[in-house]
């Protein structure tokens, strides 16, 4: 009796839930190989500039030209693509194309060698990004990463006529801005706490030691030896109140909004910010300057990166279709221009309507000697640091931002290097 009632109840619940699950899953199934289509899955980072919607629109012309291929955009399961990869690889659930990652020693065995493809060899920064002489990624352009955007009105208010060209000038300008009633530096929590100290320090550190990456990875120099001065400077800015209170609670999109709303004077960020600036209402006039050199450094390097690299996974199921997709993404004029414009990147021969800010960036890009471009965070090509450096560096910088001592940060970084070299 009880058994029968229970069985009926359970069966009813199961039927109901199967029905509801069917409704929910229908949306997902529609993407799967319907009618003999090949499904190519691409794992991408979703950012305020590169939204889910934009990605789908980006690949739509490709899908139209290749009716037998269906592109599915996958969002990361963790914070970003980098953190999702171990899980995906471990579970055997590997996408066909992965965006935004650079090859590392561990990852290379899982990647398809692209050396046979002409479009990979002629992609921007291709030769700088080879691994063991082979090509594994193709990007769409370059981004500048050690730059400061500034509010032109703030500089005018503070009586700053020319952008600073040395760190000492920069430091003095910060005080002038504060005295004029402006919050000098826009920084925050999330993943980008590290940008401010990195942009302030790295160009000079590598200028003094062009082999810094290799030496750090080999243990010839330590973090505390090379970065302590920069971090002391950074900590002094925090103490003097040059950063907003509770900055560590500010998220990436909020920081962007605050700067565009004219609440802060200087915003350390990569060139992709220009795309967000172009979309804004333009009430705030924004300029940009390269990160100045510290004492004794006359040619600070320029942190840069390969914009939107794409790689093919060996374990992906449809390599040919995936290769076609990546070829489209890095060579098709309309698609490349779209990607450059939306994310503030640059590439010779691919012009897009640029506003004043973008033109300023273009100028900095053109005027920097090729040898002065260096990577940031974990690095690329020959100049790499142990994987995970960027994330650990970010965490330690948050420690300083919340008032912790510089010695703790450097000690922890040294110990991280010891454990991860």
């Amino acid at each position: 009796m009880i058994a029968r009632r229970a069985i009926v109840a359970v069966a009813g619940a199961a039927a109901l839930s199967l029905a509801m699950a069917g409704c929910g899953a229908a949306g997902n199934d529609a993407g799967k190989a319907a009618g003999g289509k090949t499904e190519v899955r691409m794992l991408v980072n979703i950012t305020p500039n590169l939204t889910d919607k934009w990605w789908n629109e980006l690949v739509a012309p490709f899908e139209a030209a290749n009716p037998d291929i269906d592109v599915k955009i996958m969002a990361p399961v963790g914070k970003n693509v980098k953190e999702s990869m171990p899980q995906l690889l471990a579970s055997g659930d590997v996408p066909d194309v992965v965006q935004s990652l650079l090859p590392t020693k561990d990852l290379v065995p899982e990647l398809v060698d692209l050396s046979a493809y002409e479009w990979a060899k002629s992609a921007p920064l291709a030769s700088q990004n080879t691994f063991d002489g082979k090509y594994y990624i193709a990007g769409i352009g370059t981004q500048l990463q050690s730059i400061f955007f500034y509010n032109k009105k703030a500089f005018a208010d503070a009586g700053i006529k020319n952008v600073p060209v040395t760190m000492d000038e920069f430091d003095a300008d910060l005080q002038k801005l504060k005295d004029a009633g402006w919050m000098p530096l826009q920084t925050g929590g999330d993943w980008f706490t590290k940008l401010l100290p990195e942009i302030a320090g790295l160009p000079s550190i590598v200028a003094k030691n062009p082999q810094w990456y290799q030496d750090m990875s080999a243990g010839k120099v330590t973090f505390s030896q090379t970065y302590t001065d920069t971090l002391n400077l950074y900590a002094s800015w925090v103490k003097k109140g040059y950063v907003p209170a509770d900055a560590v609670g500010v998220k990436y999109s909020d920081a962007e909004q605050q700067f565009l709303a004219g609440k802060t004077a200087i915003y350390p960020m990569g060139s992709w910010f220009s795309a967000a600036e172009a979309k804004s209402d333009g009430k705030t006039e924004v300029g940009v300057f390269a990160s100045p050199g510290q004492a004794g450094v006359t040619n600070p390097k320029m942190g840069s990166g390969l914009a939107s690299p794409y790689m093919l996974m060996k374990a992906g199921k449809h390599q040919d279709a995936a290769a076609k997709l990546v070829e489209y993404l890095v060579t098709d004029k309309a698609s490349v221009t779209n990607q450059l414009q939306v994310d503030g990147n640059f590439r010779d021969g691919f012009e897009y309507p640029m506003n004043d800010l973008a033109k300023e960036l273009q100028k900095i890009n053109a005027e920097t000697p090729a040898a002065d471009f260096i990577p940031v965070a974990d690095g690329f090509g020959d100049m790499t640091l142990p994987s995970g450096y960027g994330a650990e560096f970010n965490t330690q910088m948050q420690g300083i931002l919340t008032g912790g001592p510089v010695s703790t940060a450097t000690k922890n970084m040294d110990s991280w290097f010891d454990n991860n070299r």
Partner: protein
């Protein structure tokens, strides 16, 4: 009349005790009278404290509900209030039709998991608990220890290696694989509770069932199992709540590639980096929490009672 006299006497005894000495001193009479007074003040104090604590419990829920219907500016400027003028369904609608993740669509899958795991949990646990409860040999004790050890093994320890086991079985990222893992996680507690309960079921019932000529297995399901109703109910309720609310296990086992999102993994995917866009956060949270709250509201006496019963029996 004797009765009234006795009554009177009893009344006097209680109300005005005289000389009986006791272990706690002889100030009874005064204390009795005092207690009545204290009762009123202590009642007021008690309910004030409880009231204040209740506010701390209820206000977050209240804020979540009303904020789902307000604009970002309203949420920031007027956190506690809501008026017809500022009420809007726009954000709920957006959450319902979100491309990033569909909370309501996940209801079905999550409910399916809850049902499947509960069914399998009971199907697997009851027989073995019976064997353990009735068993007298050493290996029966070993069996119990095997499952009870699972109580101390954190599921996070087995979560990542299980990925490889499921991969070998070809069940990674599938519904059966996930159900299998979740069911395994429920076995220790369930078997523990079931075997403790079955020990209180007299053996005569076993013998009665055997006399009827049924095989041991048939005998168990048709005669003994129906007696386990209360503890089965407790267990089903406990596991339903934990499976519905589970986050880590579906996140890792189902992963992003399978396209299967439960309510909690979906919430994480939907909110993720938008955690300060309150017009996304609150409607998503509300939609995710609504079924659980409604279920709890209707079943609360049952849930709370079942838990309490399980606790005293265990």
């Amino acid at each position: 009349m004797p009765t009234t006299q006795t009554l009177n006497n009893t009344a006097t005894d209680v109300a005005a005790p005289a000389t009986v000495s006791n272990a706690f001193g002889g100030k009874r009479r005064r204390k009795m009278a005092k207690r009545n007074e204290l009762s009123l003040t202590s009642q007021i104090v008690k309910w004030t404290i409880l009231g204040a604590l209740s506010l701390i419990m209820i206000i977050p829920l209240y804020i979540m509900v009303i904020s789902a219907f307000k604009s970002q500016a309203e949420i920031l400027n007027n956190p506690l209030g809501i008026s017809p003028a500022t009420f809007t369904l726009e954000y709920i609608q957006r959450a319902l039709t979100s491309e990033a993740f569909n909370v309501v669509g996940a209801y079905g899958i999550t409910l399916l998991f809850v049902v499947l795991v509960s069914v399998f949990c009971v199907l697997l646990s009851a027989p073995v608990a019976y064997v353990i409860a009735r068993g007298q040999r050493k290996w029966h004790l070993a069996l119990l220890l095997l499952f009870v050890s699972g109580l101390f093994i954190p599921s996070q320890m087995t979560l990542i290696p299980v990925v490889f086991v499921l991969r070998v079985l070809g069940l990674m990222g599938t519904i059966p694989g996930f159900v299998l893992f979740e069911t395994a996680l429920t076995l220790p507690v369930t078997i523990f509770l079931f075997s403790a309960y079955l020990r209180t079921v007299p053996r005569e019932i076993d013998e009665a069932a055997a006399i009827d000529g049924a095989g041991k297995i048939r005998a168990f399901w048709s005669c003994i199992f129906p007696l386990m109703r209360p503890t089965v109910a407790t267990v089903v309720v406990l596991h339903s709540i934990s499976v519905w609310n589970d986050f880590v296990n579906p996140q890792i086992v189902l992963g992003p590639g399978s396209g299967i999102y439960t309510v909690t993994t979906g919430v994480y995917a939907a909110i993720g980096q938008y955690s300060t866009e309150y017009t996304t956060v609150f409607p998503t949270l509300l939609l995710a929490v609504a079924p659980a709250i409604i279920f709890f509201f209707f079943m609360q006496r049952f849930i709370i009672g079942g838990l309490a019963a399980g606790a005293t029996k265990g």
